[in-house]
Structure formats: structure tokens, C-alpha cells
Symmetry: C2
Subunit: 459 residues, 2 copies
């Protein structure tokens, strides 16, 4: 097979995740985010389409930078209300056999001891289909919910994150040896105490003196995802991430970032090809190019400019309510804000963009591209992205849920399969084994997690 294109679905336990305003579309069902049946149905669609996984974003705060309060976010349902992502997994796991689940957890606010048990529990219940998207958070409003005045400074967050990784590696990898659990009914020994080790950790940020409460799950450490794009974030990804999510409007923007992550992995002593990179994209596909264009146009009519600017304000920390929507972005007098919008406007660098136009453009699919066409046209564009950027696949957002995913599964996946670019069936084994052909269910050296497992790794 030619280089496989991998697909992940990108979603969140809220309404209109990356498509502000599209909850008003008559066919959008993301308003059912708080019902189990909705998620079980979505998981079945994704498994039918052989998606590697469903990736669930999360925030622990409200987007209250726009207008300096939460009003616009609440009005537009801009990722608020937002429910816990972990609790969707068990029901979806029960309804599927292969689909992986990447869960975003903000380590800044989760005690590592209880967090590690939650992930182990999920890895048990899903039989090894769990991934963790490591984030440190970006909203001051989240810090305020957790009893602080503001977030830690950006670089400090990564120091704290390094320390956190050490704690959870110790719990997942170093506390229970393989073979510790005997379940020996004859001798009456469930666990051999000699093979269970106390974890000691005492740093500025985390203290712990305990054994891990869960017996080893199939993967021990969940598959590690990361999405940081800063220098510190890239170095962190180079050390820890097995999969990286990337957001950019064009292959030209994304390609050097892909190279940056692979280089960071190499600098951390790892094989650069051992990190799988997924680029954010929204695919709007229909049987004909004209039907796809019409569908795109119809979706666009539901975009909320205020909702999109509320997201931008949260991401950048700049209050976009202070700018006239019809102002050209090149005249924005704030470097960070201008550069955030320019990043998106590079989808068409020739065009003169206003704030409103950028918001409307990003109202579907956020910072990533919107790829519109018939199955062959979309497949052509995805192949072009693969070639120009060196990514391994796509993290697909939706415009209208679950319609966007149903269209991809019914129309795009067969086209990619025809081209020898997409798997015909799932591999066996855990998420890690499925993602890395010939791979192991446990992390292996030189990944740092393996260093915390001071006993022979069995498969």
C-alpha cells in the first residue's frame, strides 16, 4: 500500500465544537451532546469508517476574553456548556471493538494519583484503546475555577508538566511488575506483593508515596498525544508524544512545523518517524463537486462571526470585540492579534482580509483548512497535503455533526481505499499496536516512560 492516510475524528463534549453558529443548522445534532445515544451512534459511524480514533478536546474554563465577560460565549454556545469528556468513553467502548479514544485532560488541575487511576480504569474497560492528549490549559478562567488567580506562566507550565509525567510514568510503569497479578485460586494469591512497588515522588509541584491503585492495563501508559506548537511545547512533544496534532491553514504553513516536531523527537533521541502527525482539517464531501460547494455555501450561512471571534479571543488572549469587523486585518494595531488572524488568512494570501472575513472563514474548521469537493477531488487534496507536509493523516473536525463524519465515511473512505491509501480493516490489538505497525502494546526505549519500568517488558 502507498503511504496510508490515517483519520481521526475531532470532537468535544459540547455543542458545535469548531463550527461556531452551526448548532443552528437544521441537520446539526451536536445539541444532543448530553445524551449517550448520540455518542454511541457517532462511535459506530467512525468504526464503520475505520477511523483510528475519536479525539475529544476539553477546556476547564469559559471563553471570557471577548468583551471581557462570558456573555458572547454563552449566547453562541462557544464551547460552553462543556461536559466531561472521559465519561463518554465507556458507553462508546461498549458499542465498538476497535475505535480508539483520545481524551484531553488538563494536567494543571488533576491530582496525578487519581488521574492515573482514571486512565488505567479506562484502558482496562476499553481493552487498551485509550490515548491521553496532554494539555496544560490556556484559559485564566479555568485557573479561577480551581482556586487560583491566573494560570502559571507558559514556560512554568511545561516544567510542571515534565514533573507530572514523571509521577504518572512511575505509577503506570513502575508500580506493578508484569506478572504481579497471579489470580492463583489454588494458592489463594491474587497479587504477589513482592512485585508491587511503592512510588515515591517529592518535588516542588507533586508529592506522592503510594502504590498505584490499578493493576496494569494492556497499554499501561495510554497512547500519548500532544498539540503544543510553542518552542517549549515542541520540545515536550519531542520527548513524550507518540501522536501530535497540528493546526494550520495550508501545507506551506504546516510543513515546517512537521519538520520541527520530527527534529524535536530526534533531539530527544527518538526515531523522528515514530511520531505520528495529524493535521486539523474539515472535509466537506458530496457525490459531485457542485453539490459539495453548495453544501459548503449553505453551512457558511450559519457561521456566527461573534462566536468565531470569541474563540479567537480565548486562544490569543486579545479582546476582538474592540475591532470593527469590517476592518482590514493588516491594520490591526496588536501584533499577537494580527498574527493570529494572518495565520488563518494564509489560506489565500493574495486576498485582502477583513476581521469578519477571517472569522467567517474560520467559522468552519477553525485554524485548519476546509477541503471541499467530490470524493476524488478531496482525495487529491489530502494526498497533496500528505506529500507537501510529511504528515501521517488528518484530525477531522465537523461542520455539522454527525453529518460531516457520515459523509466522510460513506464517500471519502471508499475513494481512499480504492487508491490504496486507506486500510481495508482494523489491525488487531491495542490502540498503540494499531497505530504503530509491528509495534508493541507498551512504550519501549528510548521513550522515557520505558525507563520507569525497571523489569523486563513482556509483550
Amino acid at each position: 500500500m502507498r503511504q496510508e492516510i490515517r483519520l481521526n475524528a475531532f470532537d468535544m463534549n459540547c455543542v458545535a465544537h469548531q463550527s461556531p453558529g452551526l448548532w443552528r443548522h437544521p441537520r446539526d445534532r451536536s445539541g444532543e451532546y448530553n445524551r449517550l445515544g448520540y455518542w454511541v451512534e457517532l462511535a459506530a459511524v467512525l468504526e464503520r469508517g475505520l477511523f483510528d480514533g475519536l479525539f475529544l478536546a476539553d477546556v476547564l474554563g469559559v471563553y471570557d476574553v471577548y468583551g471581557q465577560n462570558a456573555d458572547a460565549a454563552l449566547r453562541n454556545a462557544t464551547q460552553i456548556p462543556v461536559n466531561d469528556p472521559m465519561l463518554l468513553v465507556p458507553a462508546m467502548a461498549q458499542a465498538t471493538r476497535h475505535l480508539g479514544f483520545g481524551i484531553t485532560c488538563t494536567l494543571s488541575y488533576e491530582p496525578p494519583f487519581t488521574f492515573a487511576r482514571r486512565m488505567s480504569t479506562l484502558d482496562h474497560l476499553t481493552e487498551g484503546r485509550i490515548g491521553w492528549n496532554i494539555v496544560t490549559g490556556y484559559l485564566d478562567s479555568a485557573a479561577k475555577g480551581l482556586g487560583r488567580d491566573r494560570q502559571n506562566a507558559h514556560d512554568d507550565r511545561y516544567l510542571i508538566a515534565e514533573d507530572y509525567m514523571e509521577v504518572v510514568y512511575k505509577l503506570w510503569e513502575g508500580s506493578w511488575e508484569e506478572g504481579a497479578v497471579l489470580r492463583d485460586k489454588e494458592r489463594g494469591i491474587f497479587t504477589d506483593p513482592a512485585k508491587v512497588h511503592r512510588v515515591h515522588h517529592a518535588s516542588q509541584h507533586h508529592r506522592l508515596d503510594a502504590i498505584h491503585l490499578a493493576e496494569p492495563s494492556l497499554q499501561r501508559t495510554p497512547v500519548l498525544y500532544q498539540a503544543g506548537s510553542s518552542t517549549k511545547g515542541r520540545a515536550f512533544a519531542g520527548r513524550h508524544a507518540e501522536c501530535v496534532f497540528m493546526s494550520g491553514p495550508s501545507p506551506q504553513v504546516v510543513a515546517p512545523r512537521v519538520q520541527g516536531v520530527r527534529q524535536a523527537a530526534e533531539e530527544a533521541g527518538r526515531d523522528p518517524a515514530s511520531v505520528l502527525i495529524f493535521a486539523l482539517a474539515t472535509v466537506i464531501v458530496a457525490p459531485t463537486a457542485a453539490a459539495a460547494a453548495a453544501k459548503h455555501e449553505e453551512y457558511r450561512s450559519y457561521v456566527s462571526v461573534e462566536g468565531a471571534l470569541t474563540l479567537f479571543s480565548g486562544w490569543t488572549g486579545l479582546d476582538f470585540s474592540r475591532y470593527d469587523p469590517d476592518q482590514e486585518i493588516r491594520y490591526i494595531d496588536n501584533d499577537a492579534g494580527r498574527s493570529a488572524l494572518e495565520n488563518i488568512s494564509r489560506a489565500d494570501p493574495e486576498r485582502v482580509w477583513t476581521v469578519r472575513e477571517v472569522a467567517e472563514h474560520a467559522g468552519i474548521g477553525g485554524i485548519g483548512p476546509v477541503i471541499v469537493g467530490d470524493p476524488a477531488g478531496v482525495a487529491d487534496q489530502l494526498e497533496r497535503w500528505m506529500e507537501l507536509t510529511g504528515i501521517d493523516g488528518f484530525n477531522l473536525a465537523y461542520a455539522v455533526a454527525p453529518e460531516t463524519f457520515v459523509d466522510v465515511v460513506d464517500l471519502l473512505v471508499p475513494e481512499l481505499q480504492k487508491r490504496g491509501r486507506y486500510k481495508q480493516r482494523y489491525g488487531e490489538g491495542t490502540l498503540r499496536e494499531k497505530l504503530f505497525p509491528g509495534g508493541r502494546r507498551l512504550l519501549t526505549p528510548p521513550h522515557p516512560a520505558a525507563g520507569y519500568r525497571p523489569f523486563p517488558a513482556s509483550r
Copy 2:
């Protein structure tokens, strides 16, 4: 109908929850605790038997008082390994329609902001079937997992718990008004910002300045369960609990405690009858009394004395490995330890008990009674308990899982129904509406939670 007998199932996300050693029984399937299918099947059994709920205990530490280390606990699987209880609920909820779920969460170690969102998420996903068993923890080993040297002192734990309740009531009841969520597609307003309120809290123990992240779930505050038996615990239950779990070996021991809880409710200004009280019991029922006795005898042959003493040591803080198992308990030189064993030995006050005999006795069903017989015999005994104690029903532990529950559903429930002592079908509505006939889905005055909802309650 005569006073209804209510049934709850008592379980935990671990092996042989209250029956140390019985994981070795050939028919015991609690070893499958880490598989979703096991729990989904159990939930279906309980719903078939019209159980009000499945109550899941939890600990965040290991029973390391016995022998001053975790060895005995590990060998005997004494509530270790133990996985997270919350994550079992979504899959069981998807497979049932009425069964309630009471989840134990140790508030000492959960930031209230993220905990409140988890419970709201579960209440959404289960359509109002969630209860919370409020515990403060009792193991120093748990505190050590969370970065402390030991637990807070017992009475301080209840002060901190009071403060915690205030925070979560503010989030669940006071942040989003009824009617705040409009989902108005025409006007493009998902939530009316005027009806969402920021929660401010600044105490010695908890600080928070945020809106609740979840929109109101059907019950808002989950049904509140409590099991504290100390003076402080009883006063706490009197103020907050809607359901109380009680453990005692005989009606004579339990009756005054029931009265104590009802009195505490009255002192808190609440109707004493508005607190439902469930007594721990293990029922071993078979078509004939002889078959039940034989089954009991067979179960008993699998009890682990060491496992039972490991539990006692954790509960009491006294290391029972220091006592000869064949010593008579009346000669134990430690008041707390002797009284713990005497409590259980009151099942037969005439008998002279050794440490081993108490452990063997409590090896099935823990501190509660084991009620053995044919369906009529067991029903007689349950009715006698109801009359002598004033309880509302039973919290049923298992000897062998799920067999103990299957027997109850197949044999005991029809007998209770025949006697007009058990419901013929579930009521409609949320867990709270099912538990309290004519009740509302929200807590109402004089319960303190209602005081944090500064806007008219709708049904």
C-alpha cells in the same frame, strides 16, 4: 401496599468487595471487574429485579494497617486493585433505563470545580439517575497518594466537607437558572447570559470564582447518600443526606442508630421520614432452606481470615496481625479493636468468639447480617428487620458475584412482591422522583441545597 422494602446493590470496582477470599469460589466472577461486559450484565440483572440502585463504594488507598504493609491486602485482593467507580456508569446507563447509580467520591481529594462537572455530566448522560455517596476517606494511605502525610483529623474532615458542600451546591444549584438554556435557533441564542451566574467562594479550604461549566442536569444536585456513623457524621447526614447507609449485625444494634439519624434530620429542620435508611445485609437464598444453608456453608469454606482481618485493620486503624487468631476477643487489650470485633459478635451475643471466628463470620457480608433461607424465610427476616429498626430497605452485598444478586432477583423479589412489600414496576422520572413518591426532581426547602437556588424552582 404495606411499607415497601427497597433494595440497593452494594458493590465496588474491585474483586470480592465484602467477601474476602471468595474470589477463589469457582462461580465468582468479580475477577472480571475490569471488563465492561461484566458490569453491563450485572446492571441488567439488577434492573430486572427492580433494584432502586447500584451503589459503588470506593477507596483511594490500600489497606496497609494489617502487618504494617500492603502485603496481605495485595495477596488477598482486599479492595486492591481498585479501579475508578464513575467510569462504570455510562456503559451501565446505556444498557438500562431505570436503575440508579450511587457513586462514592472522596471529597477530601477532588477539586470541587471538576468534580461538580463530572457529576453533572453523569446526571445528563443517565437522564437523572445519579447519586453521590459523600465520604471524607478513612485511610492514611490515601492521603499519602495525594501528597499529604496523613488524613485531616476526623472532625476537621467534616468541617471541610461542610465547606465543600457549599461550593458544589453553589455550582449545581446557583450558577445556571432554570430556563437559562434556550437553544433558540431563530434568534441564535443558545444560553441567555443574564441567567448564568458566577460562583464566588473563598474559604480556608476552597476558593473558586467561575461559572459552572455544565448546563443544569435533571436533578442538578445528585441524590445525596451518606454513611457516617460518628456524632459528626450523623449531624452531617441529618443536614445533607437523602439516603443513609447503615451497617450493624442485628436489628437491636441498628435500631437506635436509625433513630439517631432521623433525630439528626429533625434537628436540622427536616422531616425525619424524608431520609431513606438502608441497612447493609447479605442474602443467601435458595429454593429450600436446606439448599440455602448448604450454599452458605460452601461459601464460608472460601473465606480468607487474613483478608477479613486486613479489612478490619483498615477500618479500625488497629493492626490485627498482632493477635493470635484463636484468642478470645474479650481478652483483646485494645478498646477500639475489641469493640470493633464485639460489634460483629453481637450477631450471637451468647457465644464466646475468637478473633478467627469473628473474621470468618464477617468474611461474608462484613459488618452486616447474613440472612440465609428459602424465599419465605428470608422475606420473614427482612420484614422483621424493617419492623424492629424502622429502616426503609437494604443495601445488599454479595458473597459471590453476580450469583448472589441473581438469586435475590429470581427468588426473593417475587416473594416480596407476593407479600405486597415490593414494587411491581419502576416509577417514572429521575432517581430522586423514584425514591421519594410524589417527590420532585430537585431538592426543595428545607434542604440546604435549595437555598443556593435563588430563583423559582420548576418541576
